[in-house]
Assembly symmetry: C2
Homo-oligomer: 259 residues x 2
């Protein structure tokens, strides 16, 4: 049992309107059941999710936050416009995005983009993954899965890892429910975050810097799924999220001190 992770070489700098699926297919011959993993930065660029910082007018909340945490109010406004809840304001903004993903700055990025511009993550990452997947399948004639990834920090630990934020024809979580362990007992550990493990494996080859390779193919790991799948299946329901409850508790305490 083995699989390969293959960086797709020679991907040029991506601009609005570029045909990513065609660029990918030109640089690697895809095979049946390949998992094509694409960094959200190039997806966002191809989709034109680029905004000029000076075109953003910060609202009241953004201005208040900026006075507290010293960040550019326009950048804060960009983050807020993609967020449904701010869990941490300072020293970094940890938010839950409109799509339900909890991450720093809602994925809004000042790196790998011209000065004075911001790169927004795809509005609906599953839809982006589907468009890529359908086009890649058409061009290659193969059955494929797609994962759109970002890099995220983690609780308790230093360092970011690749994380799945949008998927096509792959289940985000593998359920072991009812399966038995080596001694015939029903397993307690029942869910494996396969899409995130794949995103992390791909990120090992992607890099963050100027030598970045934003597309990686995982070959030989058979996890193709014919049905429509949704990344939100991986997001913990609010009522079960003890860490969010903790962060709200802390935020409340800080707000009391401020008032």
């Amino acid at each position: 049992m083995k699989f390969e992770a293959i960086a797709v070489e020679n991907i040029p700098l991506i601009h609005t309107g570029d045909n990513l699926p065609s660029i990918i297919c030109k640089n690697l011959e895809l095979q049946d059941r390949d998992i094509v993993i694409v960094a959200s930065t190039v997806v966002a660029k191809a989709e034109g999710e680029i905004f000029r910082l000076e075109d953003i007018t910060p609202g009241k909340i953004a201005l208040e936050m900026a006075s507290r945490n010293g960040k550019d109010a326009r950048f804060i406004q960009a983050v807020l416009s993609r967020s449904r809840e701010v869990l941490v304001e300072k020293p970094f903004m940890l938010v839950t995005t409109l799509a339900g993903h909890t991450c720093v700055n809602a994925g809004v990025d000042e790196s790998n983009i011209e000065d004075g511009f911001l790169l927004y993550p795809p509005v609906n990452p599953d839809a982006s993954a589907s468009r890529l997947g359908q086009e890649l399948e058409k061009l290659s004639g193969k059955k494929l899965s797609v994962i759109v990834t970002d890099t995220n920090g983690r609780a308790f630990k230093i360092g970011q890892t690749g994380a799945a934020i949008g998927i096509y024809k792959i289940k985000p979580v593998k359920h072991w429910i009812g399966e038995k362990d080596l001694f015939g007992k029903v397993l307690e550990v029942t869910e494996e975050a396969v899409a995130d493990e794949l995103a992390g494996a791909a990120n090992l080859l992607m890099g963050e810097g100027a030598g970045g390779t934003p597309v990686v193919v995982i070959r030989g790991f058979d996890y193709y799924c014919g049905e429509k799948t949704f990344i939100k299946e991986m997001y913990r329901p609010e009522e079960m999220d003890v860490i969010k409850k903790g962060l709200r508790c802390l935020q409340k305490k800080l707000n009391k001190k401020l008032n």
Copy 2:
């Protein structure tokens, strides 16, 4: 640029005193700069970290917690004996272990072990990784890295991923400090949790159930490091850990309600 993840087949059920390095070398010919990734369960079994539930006498704190969360007080005692702090008591025990790793139940496991027994994680996972690595290097004559892994849940998301808990001759975090992005700006995102991404990649082939393959080799990803390395480098310093602060805030509030 590519790498392979290869499951080492034919690893038998492991018992106390078994020579893991020799078993691994018999089943796969290792190559220079391979990264050998071993599930902590088999490391713990080989090291004899197996305890009988009925031999554990719960102390006062374990008995109090058991009355609150309905778990076996002996199991709680087992978790407490490996923990330096309990961050969440209920509905699951989230603790920071003596080694500094924050995880559920301190990694104490009732799965994949005979009924009535508990499997403790290795006391010093870096030392376990070093012993494995040195012996593997001696047997194979190759330069190798080793990662001992567990599977852990994550904040905000459903599903577990493989995580590094002990390392040998591999850096846990890659620092991009000072490196430039595609547009020549110094990168803001500066740390990649390489050891955890590798552990996750390996976990894709390990499985949790009866068909488990506890050893996976990553080949072709050149990240060998000649120096001594420590997993604690990846643990976020207490004063910077906003999520721990949040969980303590919540715990305090719950304690107030109880009193």
